[in-house]
Symmetry: C2
Subunit: 347 residues, 2 copies
């Protein structure tokens, strides 16, 4: 580890409210009032100040404002990574919604600080951001326990929190999984495999439960040999599918807990010389953009990803606006999207 050169030279060529005040012939507090709004300022004075500011090219210094006023107008976004259609769609929604507000986005990929979550969260939440958006945090606890105050504004996306009342937005995971499985059953499948997601995540267990419930409802015994662990990633789906195909009784259909896993499954099936959906049907979950460009186009359960992001932001803004607002959970509906990857089983 090398020493960083200590080149903290201040290049203070920047224009401050004092300069603007001088230029406009008023006091600096007046300038501040003009720009932070919300106080009586004579219309003429305001105009003079604005003109002076424009002339000088003044822009507010966010850190100073934040230090003095206690708000940064930045919201922090914690994501595992963005190289993932699922997450980037949600982020798109977040970004869209945020664009209508006065907030900016600070992006943190959580893999960066494995083991130091608490420290980072503390630092971030200690003034740098006014609120936090957490997308599928693996160990929610690590993040939340480090929040500076009891009711620091945050919202959880697609991850339930059993420990405390947390504002959350998620989807009907159980119902979605139930519907996916029922669809397969309706096509005539009896041996339906299931590739799980990351079992720590609530979405994964909810989907598994939905799968089970649908089978039971159709009086088909849940066969543990048909349930195999995945990890919500393509490669995980690929490996799990391979294992599934090697089992003595081969499934005629597979429900993958998310689209990425389903893509992996597609590949594994093809690699074994089987055809989709003739030999094996595959259904996914999420409906990420790639789902409609893979071959065959993936039948899946759609989550309104963009909307999830938007709602998350709206919930956060609400809380930011009114700190008294208590936690609530918004659950959005999923929807079956039929494409080309499912068919009735062969005789």
């Amino acid at each position: 580890m090398k020493f960083q050169k200590n080149t903290r030279k201040k290049s203070h060529n920047s224009i401050t409210i004092v300069d603007v005040a001088k230029e406009a012939g008023v006091s600096y507090s007046t300038v501040s009032r003009v720009f932070s709004g919300f106080e009586f300022v004579n219309e003429d004075t305001r105009r003079k100040v604005v003109e002076a500011a424009n002339r000088l090219g003044y822009v507010v210094n966010l850190q100073a404002r934040s230090l003095a006023g206690g708000r940064s107008n930045i919201v922090g976004l914690l994501v595992p990574g963005i190289d993932n259609g699922y997450i980037s769609e949600i982020v798109k929604g977040i970004d869209q919604e945020l664009a209508n507000s006065q907030y900016d986005l600070m992006l943190y990929t959580t893999h960066r600080y494995a083991g130091k979550e608490a420290y980072y969260v503390k630092m971030i939440a200690n003034g740098l951001v006014d609120g936090l958006l957490l997308i599928v945090p693996l160990v929610t606890e690590n993040y939340l326990q480090a929040l500076p105050t009891q009711d620091f504004p945050y919202v959880l996306v697609d991850q339930a929190d059993s420990e405390r009342p947390s504002t959350t937005v998620d989807v009907t995971n159980w119902q979605g999984a139930y519907e996916a499985t029922s669809y397969l059953l309706g096509l005539g499948h009896k041996r339906i495999g299931f590739i799980t997601g990351l079992t720590q995540l609530s979405s994964s267990t909810e989907r598994l439960d939905g799968y089970r419930a649908a089978l039971e409802h159709h009086r088909i015994a849940v066969n543990p040999d048909l349930i195999i662990e995945g990890n919500y990633e393509t490669n995980g789906g690929y490996l799990s599918m391979l294992r599934l195909l090697d089992r003595p009784i081969r499934p005629t259909a597979v429900f993958a807990a998310n689209d990425l896993s389903a893509f992996g499954a597609l590949e594994a099936i093809r690699e074994r010389g089987l055809e989709i959906p003739r030999d094996v049907s595959v259904i996914g979950f999420d409906d990420i953009p790639e789902a409609s460009i893979v071959y065959p186009k993936l039948t899946t359960i759609r989550q309104p990803l963009i909307q999830i992001g938007q709602v998350a932001v709206r919930l956060l803004l609400e809380k930011l606006d009114d700190p008294e607002k208590e936690a609530r959970r918004v659950t959005l509906a999923t929807e079956l999207v039929i494409r080309d990857s499912c068919a009735p089983p062969r005789e």
Copy 2:
């Protein structure tokens, strides 16, 4: 536009260096020195301070540090949007490389401030971020002219700047396009269509030039009717391809300026009842992750996207470390990736 409630209540329960100093029995400057490094502090004192800080749960306040010291340890990232495999791969590289540094990432999607680029850049660069990464900025000028100082650190990704010496990382666009076209020619194609990107972007014109050069080198006249404008987006590619197919002389192969356009072309071709690659070959550019999951798998020119991001960060860090460092341009090599979307033309 509603008035925002002015609830700037300060919830100053946070621990400052003064608290730590008191706890450790030293002066606050000593505490500051312990945490900002680089000065002589007695080992015992240092330990005392660190312990006191841990006991109290102290974390540095970034805005205060930034205000006082002039550095924020944040780099700004300007992207058009992240719902795009091309960009999110680059961002992945950026994120990876940044993870090894002390910098954090502030994400700005440029569509947010259409028309107010200058204002935003000024604000961001005015202390909030120490450096800027610009990914394919449409009008580079708008951003750069607003930089606070002559040599504010920034790096341009995949966009040349003819106005001034800018540190840039890009790829061999011309050669890549030349190679793609040559490959098609080598397969025996004579009528090769070209779907352009956004013509304002240097990458687009460079690729067009490469395409032209390859044809000329093979003594095939460049036919303007085979060149059609796209916009680097799937839908643009789709529409352009449709128009191309409606022309009197139909191409036997198409080179799309990026993969997204190629995907659109694939769809258009299929929609016309033609088969790929039997009736029409398609080659793309970029090799985004989706390129290998579409059907048929796309033959394309690979850009080392992740590496681009990494190099961009490295260049920025260099400049951050040594402000005297002068601008340079790094050009990474592209590479032909042969998959399933190209074949010799039918008789």
